[in-house]
């Protein structure tokens, strides 16, 4: 099942013009607020009529303004997980979950329902009403409700943005399980680089109503020309394998032949990880640094420099571990005489685990 989208819509000063495909797996629509993400989601869900466009899901045409074909939202067979959950306050959790079954000709079987309830860990909430649930519980019920509609596409519109970090950490694994366990495409809208790094198979970076870049998550996130969430949130993502757990509390990783050390990461030797390296936390040095406390120093070559309007410069590097981003000041860039092709050493101050066990997740290709 593949989702194909082409849309053009204009209101006021804002013009949206995008075309993209979403294959099975998680496709993240990534961009700041106002970049057009919600307009795209609403158009796909059928809640907004775009001026021009064509949307197909597998063989089904959901919208074609040329032939004036518009499938109403209730016949699109989508599962939408909204930012605010949108649970029905007058129904119990159980009734919310079974809502879609009342209208479906081909409802999910009870065993499948039970499996979804178990996967989301909401079995103990079934007889309660939404008003009595925490934010994280509400979102899990909302995910379950959309799954029980047996959707052919899942649309998740910033499903975590109304939650605090702890609740986010609680929900993210469920999306990973969805990605791995169900065979429908998931279009996931986010402005969080962390969520993108952790979930995305494919990334579509939106800027001002246009697609700035689309492709594999690692490539898009390592591109200095694309900082859809702003330069402060930019950061490259590397894939690595655990090679050893050391006695002093460090875990040694191998990323394309380069060695990285992290505070203890649970997992056995051979486990694959995605790590995220914020561009702000990378220092550059022309000479091989000595006498530094930082453990992670990656030699590489400058690939591109991107000069913004501010005092900062975004530098992309090619290292053995993969593409890396560093954000330094313009003054430093001039003093180091940085230019494409120059050899440098990247000193990495922090590394965050973006996703564990990628081998079971997104296809690496």
């Amino acid at each position: 099942m593949m989702l194909k989208v082409a849309l053009a819509h204009r209101f006021g000063d804002f013009a949206l013009d995008v075309a993209f495909d979403a294959p099975p797996g998680i496709t993240v629509l990534f961009g700041r607020s106002g970049s057009g993400k919600s307009t795209i989601v609403n158009a796909i869900a059928g809640l907004l009529a775009p001026q021009r466009g064509r949307i197909t899901l597998g063989e089904r045409v959901l919208l074609d303004t040329e032939t004036r074909r518009v499938v109403p939202p209730h016949r699109r067979k989508l599962g939408v997980v909204f930012q605010e959950g949108r649970l029905f306050p007058h129904l119990t959790v159980r009734q919310n979950l079974s809502y879609a079954r009342w209208f479906s000709r081909d409802p999910a079987e009870t065993t499948e329902g039970a499996r979804i309830v178990e996967m989301l860990g909401i079995g103990h909430l079934l007889d309660r009403r939404p008003a009595g649930l925490s934010g994280g519980e509400k979102q899990r019920v909302a995910i379950g409700r959309s799954l029980l509609a047996r959707p052919e596409l899942i649309l998740a519109d910033e499903p975590l943005s109304s939650l605090d970090d702890a609740r986010k950490a609680e929900i993210l694994p469920y999306f990973e399980r969805l990605r791995d366990e169900i065979q429908v495409p998931i279009l996931y809208v986010s402005h969080s680089a962390v969520e993108v790094a952790r979930l995305a198979t494919t990334v579509i970076a939106l800027q001002d109503g246009r697609i700035a870049r689309q492709g594999r998550a690692l490539e898009v996130l390592g591109d200095p020309m694309v900082t859809p969430a702003g330069v402060r949130a930019a950061g490259a993502v590397l894939e690595a394998v655990i090679v050893a757990q050391h006695g002093d509390g460090l875990t040694e990783l191998d990323a394309g032949g380069a060695r990285l050390f992290l505070p203890r990461v649970p997992g056995g030797t051979g486990n694959r990880l995605r790590v995220r390296i914020p561009a702000q936390d990378v220092l550059l040095s022309r000479a091989a640094p000595e006498g530094l406390s930082a453990l992670n120093i990656l030699p590489g070559t400058v690939d591109q420099l991107r000069q913004g309007t501010g005092p900062g410069v975004m530098v992309s590097l090619r290292t053995r571990a993969g593409p890396l981003l560093a954000r330094i000041t313009r003054r430093s860039a001039e003093r180091l005489e940085l230019a494409p092709g120059v050899d440098v050493h990247a000193v990495v101050k922090t590394i965050a685990i973006a996703r564990e066990d990628v081998s079971a997740g997104a296809p690496a290709g």
């Binding site: 939202p73 605010e84 809502y99 209208f103």
Partner: protein, 230 residues
Amino acid sequence: MDWLSPAEWSAVTLSLRVAVWATVVSLPLGIFVAYALARWRFPGRQLLNGMVHLPLILPPVVTGYLLLVTLSPTAPLGALLGKFGIVFAFHWTGAALAAGIMAFPLMVRAIRLSMEAVDPRLEQAGATLGAAPIWVFLTVTLPLSLPGILTGAILAFAKAMGEFGATITFVSNIPGQTRTLPSAIYAFLQVPGGESSALRLVAISIVLAMGALVISELLARRLQARMSGT
């Protein structure tokens, strides 16, 4: 019932019958009009809104007179309805019609307010889950605006119980047929020695009105508790 004379008793039961019919028959239409005003944008929406509110602003006598002019057996519309056996003029059904019309703006207003308070995003969520528009209305909009529907119905009932001007103009003051509580109170006050009867009916009016208010308050609270509780 020996504490009420047959004439007084007949006024009470007639009033209850008139008010129940006026409320029950106008409620579906009131819900529909309230929904149309709350959710749809169509040409003539302001006109419809104005028409609904007209009985609230017009002198009741004018409303009653207009009903009399259009629905009396000699008027074209009244004659046409008469052929189908539907009679309003000088009949208790006419009293119910007049009461229903006078109460309609209050009913629509209460229901419309609560429907406008229903989050349209919940209705969208219902649609994405496969519910056709009519089912979204029945499973989301209607239950969520139930407190307002209840308030609207109780208000309309109370207003129908007390309607006087339009009723007496349209269907007169015929004992046992169109002499509702207010008409009866008025009639008793016109005859010497009728004050005690009038007073008893006044007391009954107050009890019925207060009772309706208390019941609606209790029901609304229960509905609220259901939605905000666990």
